[in-house]
């Protein structure tokens, strides 16, 4: 309890985390719907190329949205490190490391979208490739974007396991939130491992992660926004 008092304004930090989570909740679905799923036609390179060219602004907005998310993730990693440090310094550092790794991989994962954009935008130096080849390369890169989601999901799942444990142990949060976060972590890890090893179940695994992870992240966001932390006054 002593060490919790050393954290400056835990309630305020928790509220900021809540607002940042809310930003992710709004920006992430928008970015992936407008900038990706609405534009990419799975397996159809020509239709995808046409969509990117016709909706280049949306595609770029998607990339900008992804940028906002990994910047927010970085700050969240720092805030939760501070809030959960009293439970265990080393575990909360490990948890923060995993979230930073996730954010970096998300950041480098802008590269496939940029490459795809360059390939369809018709630079003169690309004319040695046939249009069909250019489109195929473009779709290869866009598919790799989805694959890298699985890779950062792997780090994120691990982060959720650690954070869930720390939240459950912490005096600042109710235990059930920690348990929910652990379930979310299990969901992400199942999806990441499963998609590698059993690619034919990709859709099923994506549904599992949605069912396991969404309630936990929603509950956590609401708690952070409304309550902040347990039994602490706003200004100490």
């Amino acid at each position: 309890m002593n060490e919790i008092e050393n954290i400056k304004n835990p309630k305020k930090m928790a509220r900021i985390a809540g607002v940042l989570y809310l930003i992710i909740f709004i920006v992430y679905p928008l970015a992936s719907f407008l900038g990706k799923s609405q534009i990419i036609v799975p397996g159809n390179a020509m239709a995808t190329a046409k969509n990117i060219l016709e909706n280049e602004t949306l595609f770029r907005i998607g990339i900008a949205g992804e940028t906002i998310i990994f910047l927010v993730e970085l700050i969240l990693a720092g805030i939760f490190y501070e809030l959960l440090k009293p439970v265990s310094t080393s575990l909360s550092l490990a948890s923060a490391f995993a979230r930073v790794a996730e954010a970096i991989i998300q950041a480098v994962n802008l590269l496939p979208s940029i490459l795809a954009l360059l390939l369809v935008s018709g630079g003169a130096y690309l004319t040695v490739f046939s249009p069909e080849q250019l489109n195929a390369l473009m779709l290869l890169f866009m598919d790799s974007f989805n694959f890298m989601i699985i890779v950062w999901g792997f780090f994120f799942g691990f982060h959720l396991l650690l954070m869930g444990y720390l939240v459950a142990k912490s005096d600042l949060f109710p235990k059930f939130l920690g348990i929910l976060l652990i379930l979310g972590g299990v969901g992400y890890l199942l999806q990441s491992f499963g998609t590698f090893l059993l690619p034919q179940f990709e859709t099923l695994l994506a549904t599992i992660v949605l069912i396991l992870a969404t309630p936990s992240e929603l509950a956590f966001t609401l708690y952070l926004l409304i309550k902040g932390v347990k039994g602490q006054k706003l200004s100490q």
């Binding site: 995993a98 195929a136 950062w152 691990f158």
Partner: protein
Amino acid sequence: MKSIQRNARLAGVLYLVITVFAVVAHMYIPSTLIVPGDAAATVENITQSEMLFRVGSVGSELIILLSELVLAILLYVLLKPVNKTLSLIAAVSRLIMTTIHGFNLINYFFILTLVSGAGFLSGFGAGQINSLVMLFLEAHSYGFTIGIAFLTIHVLLLGYLIIKSGYFPKILGILFLIAGLGYVIDSFSLLLLPGYTTTPIYIAIPIAISEIAFPLWLLIKGVNKEKWQEWNKQTA
């Protein structure tokens, strides 16, 4: 005291886990599937043993990634009493390596998609597909080396901190300094000398010795009790 010995043991176990899976991912699988200079035969091998490539290369690397993350933290905890800043720099360099290796998996995704015979790739001839596969295989090994550049910093700091610590034998630290020098020569040779593909034996042996001796020491002996307590009295 009990918990620090437990951390030492866990670090030893993770080190060995990494070694075993690294041998599978970086030595066994490449030697079975890759035929140097023969793109057609290599692609044929990967197509025939797709599951081996998925589980052996990608799966092993995923296990290595999470183990590396935890190991970075455990080594930080083990060496923090000697110098907090230097051991944090060491941990962060190991984390950066892990993140780069995580992103480097994108090259394996390209290879798996290229050999999958997806319809959208039909614009490329078999020869072109094969040469793209070789390109991404090479890119993967360069990506790996870029990660190792950060491991160099980690290993040199680790060596220094072990020598200073007194609770680990000095010789283990000296071994790491030699290994770190080996990593420097190895990664710069790969980047500067076009024909440099395999690590010469006089570099590989010291690296292997240090990477096996330290984990075994951690597993069997852990940290020296009296010296550890001395350090912690000083810093307390």
